[in-house]
């Protein structure tokens, strides 16, 4: 294997550029602040980011079929409120968890009904459910003070440890692994990619586009419900406005991980890295003592640099792949490189002839009703 081939092989590992950006950020902050790489800080960082990580994972599914779900933030807040309210009214903690996840199911079914069955624009439907969910939280919290559950088991969901790792993080990682497996290794997961890439072809191949669309909004709702349960355990209190803005962070994390809003691409793992990158950036800047007035600017600039780097890597890989293919096509064919390249967005680059930015929105079809 030539050095060049090895380089291409490394560069085309799924999610590597954004992971490299994450490592670079971590190294920078470790050098800049003695407080960054401490056990306590890393623990804080991870626990605080599990909510956006979970939402980004659910969002990955929605984005892959070419949809969008703006309601996840307010669903998370509402689910946290339902969980606490149930437990505070004397129900055992598992019932509280069911109430929280049930809230997510209800929102997911409503979104799915309007978007998949009635075929109404996903942006507007989920914007409306965002507003209704946030309003419902407002109504609940204006009536009762939601604070102070004393079920130790419930609080241990986020405060306890399993093998020294925070329980909340373990739960999140299990969910993430499961979601990644379903996406990449089951016929259902593959059908989602098909629907996102080319709904007409998927339909002709026998996939129910309606069912695929419905399922991702239901899933996104359930995940938001689960995030709400964890948030309730983490904060042990709920206030109006809880969860507001999580949806933007989740979408940003997913897109930062290389998922296109036009659908057909993405993996849960990349969204996870995207979410960690955002969390590291904001906490690192804080520890270095940067005024948050600069946060928006620095975060904005970092996102631009990270994504531009990702794009440049893809172009590099695409170019190398082409020339390698010309030189020694028989050597590569059937090898692992091709399989990897297929999964990585790099493979899409040579096909999308137009500038990358313009490639975001592909052929419209009735089924992809964003």
């Amino acid at each position: 294997m030539s050095a060049r081939e090895r380089l291409v092989r490394i560069a085309s590992i799924d999610g590597l550029p954004i992971a490299a950006a994450l490592v670079a950020a971590a190294v920078f902050f470790t050098a800049a602040s003695p407080f960054f790489l401490t056990g306590e800080n890393i623990r804080n960082l991870l626990i605080q980011s599990v909510f956006v990580i979970l939402l980004a994972a659910g969002m990955t599914y929605v984005l892959i079929v070419g949809g969008i779900d703006l309601s996840v933030g307010s669903t998370t807040g509402l689910s946290a409120a339902m969980t606490l309210m149930t437990i505070m009214n004397g129900a055992p903690w598992p019932v509280g968890i069911l109430a929280g996840i049930g809230t997510g199911v209800v929102v997911g079914v409503i979104n799915g009904f309007f978007i998949a069955i009635l075929q109404i624009n996903a942006f507007i439907v989920t914007l409306a459910t965002l507003s209704i969910g946030a309003g419902a939280l407002q109504v609940i919290t204006s009536g009762t003070q939601l604070t102070g559950v004393d079920s130790e088991t419930f609080l241990a969901l986020t405060k306890g440890n399993i093998l020294g790792i925070p329980t909340g993080l373990v739960i999140t990682l299990v969910i993430i692994a499961l979601l990644e497996w379903v996406l990449l290794a089951t016929p259902y997961g593959r059908s989602l990619f098909a629907v996102g890439t080319n709904p007409q072809a998927a339909f002709l191949a026998g996939t129910s586009i309606r069912r695929a669309n419905f399922s991702v909004y239901l899933l996104s709702g359930v995940i938001a419900g689960a995030a709400g349960v964890l948030l309730a355990s983490h904060l042990n209190s709920v206030q109006p406005g809880l969860g507001q803005g999580y949806e933007l962070s989740a979408i940003a994390a997913a897109v930062l991980g290389g998922i296109a809003l036009s659908g057909g691409r993405g993996s849960v793992w990349r969204s996870l890295i995207g979410a960690l990158f955002l969390a590291t950036l904001s906490q690192g800047l804080q520890l270095v003592g940067v005024d948050p007035l600069w946060f928006n600017i620095v975060t904005g600039a970092s996102i631009v640099i990270a994504v531009a780097f990702d794009r440049a890597t893809q172009h590099f890989i695409a170019g190398q792949l082409r020339s390698l293919a010309r030189k020694q096509s028989h050597d590569i064919s059937g090898g692992g490189l091709e399989a990897e390249a297929l999964r990585s967005p790099a493979a899409a680059a040579p096909i999308e002839v137009q500038p990358a930015g313009a490639g975001n929105h592909e052929i419209t079809s009735g089924a992809r009703n964003i």
Binding site: S33, F35, T38, E40, N41, N44, Q48, Q138, T141, S142, T147, G148, L235, N236, S237, V238, Q239, P240, G241, L242, Q244, G245, Y246, L248, S249, S282, Q283, Q286, L287, G289, D291, P292, L293, F295, N296
Partner: protein
């Protein structure tokens, strides 16, 4: 986002307690008490704020004794308001003024870090992580004003205290909570119920002779400030049964939303006598709506009374120009000076300070706007910035 107002017409139990508490704390340095009288909850207007003043007393022996106690120590402070605004800018400048005075007289060195979320999203989470970050960096004291949930913050404060960082809150409506459950050294602010909402209500009653129709432009529902002020405002309404609220709308603490809300409400109720805006920006928006609707603003005899709350320089200019009837000045300058004093006494001198320190608030009208404005303007020119 977060503002308030009022004067001390209803001294609460807390108020009395806090004065007593401060008296106790001052025993350790009786003469310092007089020197720092601007800091005490009742002495707000006693000494000129700002300028190149010094904190010195008339007791040189005492001053030099304190100076040797301080021994050139450096104190690292972190200050986090919920958003950067004119209100908190005034407060920060006032704090600088007091820090400079203490530095000049007692040789203390200050390190100041300001961290304010910018309000796009995640503002509350950002503040939690700001305080956690300062705790990790072993700051001597952090000063917090936040819209975050009470219980969440107590958790954060407990962690901070246990790792040696002292926590103070400012401008926080602590009156809604049990003092014992607040994990801070001290809370410097005012009582939103009686020193703000109640004050605005009674001002309207007094001006209108106890009778009239009111429109209310409220902040986003659910915030502690809103809740506390509403308690006071409703008490004023109960005491003046001739007052009637004929309409209320959400103005989101923003001027354009306040303007829209007031315009819409005026469509339905053209015969109103007063508008209560929960903060100054919304009240100023309402004032524009009154002008646009062709109604007359209060001229001392008749017209629509418009009262807001904050005590911003821009609001005072509007009062002077006749664009706003009154505002409740919630003592941004005194809060800034008082929390620095509380830190100095508690962190540096090891004294006790009252758990709740309330600064004076006042209704500012055309009659007394000159004094209120000059007081803030003086504080806007601190001898040194940190």
């Amino acid at each position: 986002m977060i503002r308030s107002k009022a004067s001390d017409q209803q001294p609460s139990r807390r108020n009395l307690l806090s004065s007593a508490g401060l008296g106790l704390g001052a025993l350790a340095g009786a003469s310092l008490l007089s020197a720092c009288s601007t800091v005490t909850p009742t002495g707000g207007a006693a000494a000129p704020a700002g300028g190149a003043g010094s904190a010195g007393t008339n007791n040189p022996a005492y001053d030099s004794a304190i100076k040797s106690l301080v021994n050139g120590r450096t104190v690292q402070l972190g200050w986090t308001p919920p958003i950067l605004s004119e209100m908190f800018n005034q407060m920060e400048k006032a704090a600088f003024g007091r820090m400079a005075e203490l530095e000049q007289t007692y040789g203390i060195n200050w390190k100041w870090e300001r961290s304010a979320p910018t309000g796009n999203f995640d503002a509350v989470e950002q503040q939690v992580s700001i305080v956690r970050g300062w705790t990790a960096r072993k700051f001597d004291a952090v000063l917090v004003c936040t819209g975050a949930n009470f219980a969440t913050m107590q958790d954060v404060y407990r962690q901070a205290s246990s790792s040696g960082t002292r926590v103070f809150q400012f401008n926080q409506p602590v009156e809604l909570y049990d003092e014992e459950k607040i994990n801070t050294v001290s809370n410097i602010g005012y009582d939103n119920r009686w020193q703000s909402g109640y004050l605005a209500g009674t001002f309207i009653a007094k001006t209108l002779g106890g009778k009239g129709k009111i429109i209310q432009i409220m902040g986003p529902s659910g915030s502690d400030w809103s809740k506390a002020r509403q308690i006071g405002f409703e008490k004023a309404l109960r005491e003046n049964p001739g007052l009637e609220v004929v309409g209320s709308a959400d103005g989101g603490y923003l001027r354009d939303k306040g303007l829209n809300a007031a315009q819409d409400l005026l469509t339905r109720n053209r015969d109103i006598n007063a508008i209560y805006g929960e903060n100054e920006d919304m009240a100023l928006g309402a004032s524009q709506a009154v002008d646009a609707a062709g109604l007359k603003q209060w001229d001392g005899q008749q017209g629509v009374v418009i009262i807001g709350a904050d005590g911003l320089l821009s609001g005072m200019e509007s009062i002077a120009a006749g664009k706003l009837t009154a505002t409740v000045d919630v003592g941004s300058v005194d809060q800034g000076r008082s929390f620095i004093d509380a830190v100095f006494r508690s962190v540096v001198l090891g004294e006790t300070v009252a758990k709740t320190i309330e600064v004076p608030t006042r209704v500012v009208t055309k009659d007394n706007v000159a004094a209120a404005k000059a007081y803030i303007e003086g504080a806007m020119r601190p001898a040194k910035s940190y």
